[in-house]
Symmetry: D2
Subunit: 366 residues, 4 copies
């Protein structure tokens, strides 16, 4: 980085268009850090951002929010971190002093979804270098026993999937249904399992995802191609339904299915980004004419340093193996474009691609 004032990154040029651009390297405020990527992963939401215009039009905004990196600069007030440190970068990097953070909702710091800054309010991580706000509070040191490519699954996939299970308020021995088993949904299956679920129905159809779901703790696969999933679930539970539902796929109509398959006195947790539709429809009758205690939750994943550290400890202790999510591997920053196109084109065997970037001074930088 010495002497450089610009950086190269893969950007959204406008709706439907991507390309490599050269930009000024960001300022590093007193609490901030500049980081270069060691591992990157594209996310379905990157494709939504570009090709569906889900967050509106953006021009020359660098993409990406899943990264493990190495610190190249720290601000004057940063205490815990120094140049050369390898860090897990969460997709969500809150402002920790804000009103919402003090109330327990850091992901909404400064306004709804305000903790989601990368490739939303500022440039993302698909770049030679990227900026992290409140570095001490938002960056977790990468444990030596975790590979960058495994750790990059923590940035968004693990924390988002597990948050679905947290939102669904899963208790020991609960029967759970996870709707959608892409990479986030698979992590919801794993999260439900880590929170003590007994029977776990995983709703999906792609063979590879179904196989991996079983490895992560699912006990039953429900294929929507075999008929209405509500009927399948009710049949499999003697008409009782499930205790909890995690929604990690589908669309605005998925909530109705969840409400219909769940018992009274229960929780539905959504972590699916709902890109289309005016309304989510909650069926009045099955929602107990307003009085069925079928609690409906939906939330952006928590971010920040401590969440990353906690989840990383599940990998370090061998209790969670994120490498099962990785189906495609690339080397070199420029390959992030290929990885992103894979996410757009979704071949049948894809769960998640990862790009690893190496540096000559990776182990000597300081």
């Amino acid at each position: 980085m010495e002497g450089k004032t610009t950086m190269k990154g893969l950007a959204m040029l406008g709706i439907g268009r991507i390309g490599w651009i050269e930009k000024k390297i960001p300022e590093c405020g007193p609490l901030d850090a500049l980081v270069r990527p060691l591992a990157l992963a594209p996310c379905t939401s990157d494709t939504h951002t570009v090709w569906a215009g889900a967050i509106g039009d953006r021009h020359d905004m660098i993409l990406g929010h899943e990264a493990v990196g190495q610190i190249v600069k720290v601000g004057s007030l940063v205490k815990r971190l120094k140049v050369g440190d390898k860090v897990i970068v969460p997709a969500i990097t809150p402002d920790w002093g804000e009103e919402e953070s003090q109330r327990g909702y850091p992901m909404h710091s400064g306004g709804m979804l305000g903790g989601w800054k990368f490739s939303n309010f500022k440039d993302g991580v698909f770049s030679e270098v990227f900026h992290v706000n409140e570095a001490d509070a938002n960056l977790a040191l990468l444990p030596r026993d975790i590979k960058p490519e495994d750790a990059v699954m923590l940035s968004d996939m693990v924390t988002t999937g597990f948050h679905g299970a947290e939102l669904a308020n899963i208790k020991l021995g609960d029967t759970v249904c996870v709707i959608g088993i892409g990479p986030v949904g698979l992590m919801s299956v794993a999260g439900a399992n880590h929170l003590g679920a007994g029977r776990i129905f995983a709703v999906g159809s792609r063979k590879h995802c179904c196989d991996i779901a079983l490895e992560y703790g699912a006990t039953d696969i429900i294929n929507y191609k075999n008929g209405d999933i509500v009927e399948q679930i009710l049949k499999a539970t003697d008409g009782k339904g499930v205790d909890k539902v995690v929604i990690a796929g589908g669309d605005v109509h998925t909530f109705a299915q969840a409400v219909k398959m769940i018992k009274p006195g229960s929780d539905i947790g959504n972590v699916n980004y709902l890109g289309e539709g005016d309304n989510i429809d909650i069926p009045r009758s099955e929602w107990g004419v307003g009085m069925g205690h079928k609690h409906i939750h939906g939330g952006l994943t928590p971010g920040g340093r401590v969440k990353m550290e906690k989840l990383a400890s599940l990998i370090s202790t061998g209790k969670l193996d994120t490498s099962k999510l990785i189906t495609h591997r690339f080397e070199g920053l420029e390959k992030v474009e290929d990885a992103l196109m894979l996410m757009k084109n979704k071949p049948a065997d894809l769960i998640k691609p990862v790009v690893r970037i190496h540096y000559d001074d990776e182990d000597t930088l300081h």
Copy 2:
């Protein structure tokens, strides 16, 4: 009761028709009690049951679920209660051993809304005598310092209204909006106040209700006749919105208003019986595209003895005055028909009517 085998009651004869009928006095199982009414109150849901057919057609089903009474018979296994005891009868009388009760949802014992038995699964309380299941667990002794007509407000109005505030998860100093200030909504205002709310917006229009809302702790009245309530709330809060919303009136469209007026990281609690409409619409965008942590709760009030005792203590200690709800008073069982018709016709000055029934042996029965 000596020697009598039948009883008179005000019944739903069919949809749209009421009348007095004579029925066999119910059996009293080993855990049960038979009770005669000391105070009765009709509820809006009684009118929904009869004139809207909200729970389907019923023939010769005695109406009513709000009562204070006196025990005339107890089953062989009843330990806490004896003939002559004056008791508060909750509208919801759960089966306490059921799976849902063990999970913390007694109001859904035996199935969704299963704890609501009076004038739903069995005859109600507008009768010379009525049956109570699991008497020890469901009947609270009437404290000597509370009048039957004040206590009958506990059966449904207080516990339902307060449950709305409980569902909305109100914390110290929260800014709250209560939508709907009929008798239940007024108790949601009081409940929000008892749970520590600071500013409380009460949404209503009838002058008498608005005046009483201010006495129960509301700080601002929002009249929907003055324009969109969401806009009024946002304006009054400098665009921030409220921390919590209690829905105690309106219809399936009210939820959209609640979602629009509330901050991210918040709770909406509904206790309004939703009588019509296929779906409740949750606006996708304002619900944070699925990720705004605007938790949506809706539930039937808890019932049972302990809830009645806890709420009664608020009256005994002078912290809650339910008499403010009572706008019309009647004497004699036969007047419950007039009281019910008042609820149907809703004159402008009505909040809640009460019927008091006296017996010569009220103080000597044993």
Copy 3:
């Protein structure tokens, strides 16, 4: 049972003395069931009861509270169960309508520890037949895919051990210390793991228990013979301490160790029966001079049908293997005496003994 009016059981004759006695078969009330044992296990607390007089003197009280059995009689109001059904019998059988149960504490129904009835307030399960109160609410059907001897671990060991983890309020990725790894402590290790703990320190010394602890999810073994456990834990965590502690062994002095090894803003959950000592000492300074938010919890396990069903589902789905706890196996009711003496004498290789009882009509009784 036909025609028999008495039954044989292994009883506490007085403090320090056990023996087989003949007693009248108990009455079966309308909500109750009579059950014959299919699998029994003695518990350390049985030995405390007899040889330490922990609950005071008792004469001719049949011992035992861990059983899987088969129903031989049901009361007239029992709906879910019939003669011949094989059932898991929880050690704790609450009265579900009591005040404490309605407040969420069924284990204390009717008074502190009041849900613990077997070999405490009434005869226990080491008998030809035993009585179960509120059978519908307290007995869980034994799933066909679980062996009685594996299921009997649910009655007390699993539910108690897991409750320790519940009381310690374990969250995803927490670092946890479990003090004591007898059978309950091993289940606290498993419980912590099922609730999402990352690193788990297990404090013990017996090799077999330590080996099994690692299989149940422990990541580090702390042997108190190697020095002060607080120092060992602090050293292993770079002075930070652990997030949560479960106490499943030790004595009244163990709490001081827990307080010293835990971070501020944390929870300590105890499920150890404290048999001796006037006081539990909480060190003032390390407890933050009263302000450290080191929450201290201790509680009797929940019992009842639903808890058994939820935990059984962990066995049915292959997520929990209770057979690892069973080190000694016996056949025949009379062998429960040998099993009990094993618990008293505690050989080094003992975790838990089980007694299996067979009947000619086990599969045809109805």
Copy 4:
């Protein structure tokens, strides 16, 4: 402040000695603010600090942690605040990005009790000017409708007293005992009342405090001079005991009383600073031999901007009147010494003294 480089303050010179000193005005970092006092109040813990040496020896440390003030300087990154703003200064000013803050315990940011900085880790507020860390996150704007002297009660008294009620997990209609009714205990009474308590026993003896306790929601006064308070409470509750206890006075032995007077399945919340004694004794037997679910909590009050804003709204809406706490009023910074000596000498009519400081440019500073 213009041109001044030093400031005058009332300091602890050493254990047992106070005096006015002149010190360099603190640096103002980019996130910080410098504030001059508008209202100050001494706290019992100031007297503990000086005359009991409770936090160890300190030399020339300016005292005080309760203040309302006016901003005289802000750091370059401060966004919400500007010179001239009148602000409520919480006694606890956390570092919001720290690990403990992210876990929900900001008062322990950086280590146990680490959020308590004033007159502990740095100079306090009894000074011409004082330093506030993370000003945007820690300072609340003083609402125009609240007087500085009423608002200064929020800094510690209200938030600490109410936190006791929060820690005791008070629910609607609970019977509560508050032990100790100095200014913090009175606010615990008010807090219990704001959280929905029914019957509230206040344990105290000074007449003025007892009178005020009744005004804040206490229903029964228990005077320890009339006999054992446990016996008095059990007698008054027909032997049942209370649902919750808040400890706001007494010493390490008070916990045993709390455990003895409380039901199983309950919570004890402590906010009393425990200055002496090696251990807090929890009586083994009454604590249910470790299994009574009598949860024990003790914690430093939360601080920060949002907590101040929430509690201030209770004053703005007329729901909390803190002026009842103020028994002695002074004018001028130098009078803080007289106020502090009052707290040391505790005359019978004292609850809380307040010092008001006026400036010529109070309304024109900007």
